[in-house]
Symmetry: C2
Subunit: 140 residues, 2 copies
Amino acid sequence: MIGKLNHVGVATPSIEESVKLYRDMLGATSIGEKFSMPEQGVWVCFVNLPNAQIELIEPYGEASPIHGFLAKNPKGGQHHVCFEVPDIYAARDEMRAKGATVLGTGEPRMGAHGVPVIFVHPKDMGGVLVELMAEPKAAH
Amino acid sequence: MIGKLNHVGVATPSIEESVKLYRDMLGATSIGEKFSMPEQGVWVCFVNLPNAQIELIEPYGEASPIHGFLAKNPKGGQHHVCFEVPDIYAARDEMRAKGATVLGTGEPRMGAHGVPVIFVHPKDMGGVLVELMAEPKAAH
C-alpha cells in the first residue's frame, strides 16, 4: 500500500529559527514560505530535499494540536512521518479493517499539499504518528 | 550541504513486530533481513520505499544506546533522521565550525549502509537527532 516517504513532520516552537537551522547549519537550498493552516492549527513550511521534504510545523492558535507535543519537547522534534498512498479512502478503510485507529472522524481532510490525508494513531504504529496522503499529482 | 533524506530511524522493542506492522498493516513490499551491528549496539532492518527507507533499530546488548529512548517510549518511535552529504569529513568540520555538537569522538564511523556517518546532537538541531552519512555509491 504505502509508496514514497513524502515527508517527515518536525514540530518547532519557531519556524523562523528552524529555517535558519536547515538553511544556515545544514545547508538546505530550497525552503518554501511559511503559511498558515488555521483549520489544522499549524503554521507550515517545507524544506525541500531532492527526494522528500521536512515539514516544519509551528502551533497556530491556542487550540493547536501540537501544543502538547511542544510542552513535552520544548525544542521541538520529530512529530510524524507521511507516506503516500494511491487511494486515501481505500487506505482509510484498510487501516480500520486491520484494527488501526484513524484519528478524528476518519474523513480524509485537505493536507498541506492540497491532497486529502488521514492520521493513524501511534499506538497502532509502533509509537510513530503516521500520516497517509493521497499521491500528489505534481512531483515534489 | 545536505542532499537526500536517506532514512528515518525508528526505534522498536521488536524488529519482528515492526516488520509485521510495515508489511501487513502498511503494505510495504520490500523489507530487508534483520542484521546486527554490535559496535553500534543495535539490530537493524530496512524497510525500502521507492525514494527512501525506514531504518528499524532494536537494542543489541545491554549497552545499546537506544535503551534510554525505549525506556521513555516503550512502544518505540522516531529516533533520528538521516541526510546524505557529499563529504562526511567536510560536513563534520562544518557542523563543528558552526557550533553544533558532533556526538562521540567526532570521527565518522561505519554506518548500516557501509559508508561513514556522524550524529549531531538534537539540542543543536531543533530537538531532532540528525545523522549525516556519506552518499552511498549504489542507489538505494
